[in-house]
Assembly symmetry: C2
Amino acid sequence: MPDRQRRLADVSEGALLAELFPLLRGGPALPVGPGDDAAVLTTGPSTVATTDSMVRGRDWLDEWSGPGDVAVKLLTQNLADVAAMGARPTAVLLSVVADPQAPADWVVEFARVLGERARSSGPQGVAVAGGDLSSAPTGVLVLSMTALGDLEGRPPVLRSGARPGDVVAVCGTLGLSGAGLALLEAGADPHGRPPGIRTSCLEHHLRPTAPLAEGPRAAEAGATSMIDLSDGLLRDGHRVAEASGVRLALEAGALEPHVRSLAGAVGDDAALECVLAGGEEHSLLATFPGEPPEGWAAIGLVETGGGVTLDGAPQQPRGWDHFAS
Amino acid sequence: MPDRQRRLADVSEGALLAELFPLLRGGPALPVGPGDDAAVLTTGPSTVATTDSMVRGRDWLDEWSGPGDVAVKLLTQNLADVAAMGARPTAVLLSVVADPQAPADWVVEFARVLGERARSSGPQGVAVAGGDLSSAPTGVLVLSMTALGDLEGRPPVLRSGARPGDVVAVCGTLGLSGAGLALLEAGADPHGRPPGIRTSCLEHHLRPTAPLAEGPRAAEAGATSMIDLSDGLLRDGHRVAEASGVRLALEAGALEPHVRSLAGAVGDDAALECVLAGGEEHSLLATFPGEPPEGWAAIGLVETGGGVTLDGAPQQPRGWDHFAS
């Protein structure tokens, strides 16, 4: 990057905040927005809250992901957790911990896309209610987000409510993000976007979307359990199975269309692995006492027992562990 | 540190979370605690939300601050922002971004003290409603917190409501944290605690307390503006003056007891500077249309004009800017 590029250290905190605030404005109206000691939000009787972070070099690589990509991914992974409780996402708060030598324009573009995407997220848009800027050691960039949501009077949908006889269903794609990651690792150009499944995989990995409105819809349709697929169908399926004290019996035939559509991008074997264990998909997995609502695809049944099976064969949880060596 | 010490990388994320959860439990009951996609909190019609981070090597030094000190400071600075809106702090969410080679016991002790202090914070205790663990580059430890509060039906107390004729008042200490920092920089032993003002300064710098219950009390008493003193009386006073379009006319005589009590620790000149510009005090500054309530000390008057004066002499804002070089 050219040396005359504006660095965070060249801008006072006040000037930077003055530049960022207008980019982050919009979404549902807040009684008090960012800028005071705290923001004020209008809330229902039950508020859902979750937090998730992204670290440069660990959760994204600058060679693959620009500031807008990182904004979309951070927002999606937080809001999907809110939706997976059956809540409507309402607001996020953001903490940016950055090397003062980082380009100021990275942060500005990050904020621009974050604001834009937040305003159009979920059934009624999401407000950026607060933020914090701190300086970090050389090369470090850590982005932490907290997301809040409104249950709108509904009880939350937990991981622990699946009951034998329920239908296991998924809303959204499976394996696209994992396949996109495999393509990037194999040298695919993150900016080359010819139409086709390879591009869909790259796009979903770099700028994932989540079916946010489907979380509240599933809750209204009587979902007994729900989880955001962030660590892979098997690992997240195991979480539901364990929390509910049941077995999720998945049917390979129901996953076949997902596998087939990915095979053209990564080959047959990798396609199955992406569908079963690919992370960062942010689709929703839920169980229903009967037919799942429109837009949801049945992929198995809840049985007595434990763990996850595929056509009856027990499956080990596979996926990401943040600190294991 | 001995090499056989347990590192984060030696523990699976699941095992670490299982160790941390019981330490963080307690405080106000949550309908759903940490462990699902998100926590569920019982909320009033208006929720206050704020976020603040601490970075190892920037916001604390391991030579001076242990994990419990960092836990108390992070909690206090977040909860003071909630109280400064006139809200009762209810819950926090925490993001830990750590080098996998960091000692696991640092994180465990941090969580133990955080849970203990949260349970006893504010009028009704504070719940740790959620958390996230991510791995960071070598040597990096970033802690980001979001704090939530309940306005209990009161309107929020903003920085912008001070009106000419109001009384300027402070609740809590002034300059202790700044003096504590000066003592540490001059080589004081952070663990040597003979009784006296020097120890009070060190303790308030390392483990600050904030008058959390006084935020809601001030709101009930009709406070027209309020702010948490995190960046110094002058800088934060300027923020109130600017947001309200008024002048804060401070009286040196009213600050004199604070200066005198610090003089024994850091000398006369430094004592005045600590009272005026010392950061991280987390006392509350507010304006009232008449006499401030008990426990608050009047330190000046609101006048027409702008800025902050001391016995009529204009004072420049002085304090901390995170990115200025």
